[in-house]
Symmetry: C2
Subunit: 193 residues, 2 copies
Amino acid sequence: MANQASTSTRSSDKILAAATKIAQAHGYGGLNLRALAEEVGIKAASLYHHFPSKADLAAAVAKRYWEDAAAALEAISAKTPDAVACLRKYPATFRAALANDNRMCLASFMTAEYDDLPDVVKTEVLTFVDVNVAWLAKMLVTAEIVGAKDARTRARAIFAAVSGAQLMARGRADIKLFDTLIDTYRAAGLLPA
Amino acid sequence: MANQASTSTRSSDKILAAATKIAQAHGYGGLNLRALAEEVGIKAASLYHHFPSKADLAAAVAKRYWEDAAAALEAISAKTPDAVACLRKYPATFRAALANDNRMCLASFMTAEYDDLPDVVKTEVLTFVDVNVAWLAKMLVTAEIVGAKDARTRARAIFAAVSGAQLMARGRADIKLFDTLIDTYRAAGLLPA
DNA sequence: ACCTGAACACCGTTCAAGT
DNA sequence: ACCTGAACACCGTTCAAGT
């Protein structure tokens, strides 16, 4: 994971990074290849030398997105021994997207676009959800909040609720609303206080 | 509300109905005027005789959407005296969208498209949220689940969570997942059991 | 290998011309 | 009044042709 980007992947990385930011604000349909190319400093046609199609580019974006999310979650649980403390930190990544120019989770936006999503992209988006749910389930069991049998279901409910909070807060461009919603989930008992 | 559609609004109604279905599956960006026109049986250019622009058409769609939602919610609370029973029925409208070819809430989709939404549309989308939150808050107070001071906040949390559940279920085209998520919210204490 | 101009099919929109 | 073909400037995308 550390020594993979030596020389040739540089411009692909630039493309992926720029595409991720655009897709987090405009979705798959709103990912404008001319605008993306301009941001990277090439012509739109040149994009096709790095990725065979918009679908494959978006799949690469979504794949890196869940890989980064998985690494970030592992970093949290590696650094924080207390599982309850880990669960308290979970909403922070969703908050960070809003703090970054009112952006949202790439996977949530693309989930809305389900009907128009190429299969290769759909797969990666689903994996993002799986990664989050698996991590949450593990923390819930470790924290002894639910038994192993109910962990996956509760984890999915937390993921859905936090996603919904991010979406609602984006609609008002109001990050404080996100914080209030998360606090309300805690007060109601969905998330550990 | 009853005697407004006599003769001239007929085709406008057909356009709005078809546009609503398309927007619930593809969003504002994915609302293709040529495809919409074909479904209605006219040419795209003819659409402009009924609505001055795509933005105005989408605003009319979103406006009717929240008006219908408001009427449906009023129908529930008028027919069901018990506020707790009303709250139990609330997720049903979101479920119905999923049951209708895995569609989703128009407002949720458009909220994701926030950055690309004309202001006239944005306003109507926000009103949909307000209508839902106001009704939920009223039911929560009547049911004595929360006090008047916390009603709005709790109502927003419920709306966000239910929206998130719909989005997640759409991503798997799995309506049973929606049911499970709602049940989990109830078990956790976010919604009344 | 990497890049591009030019072309393609498509989009929202306009408008003169039909009924 | 309502509709339309044709055109406009634009878009994402493709490809033959450059270096």
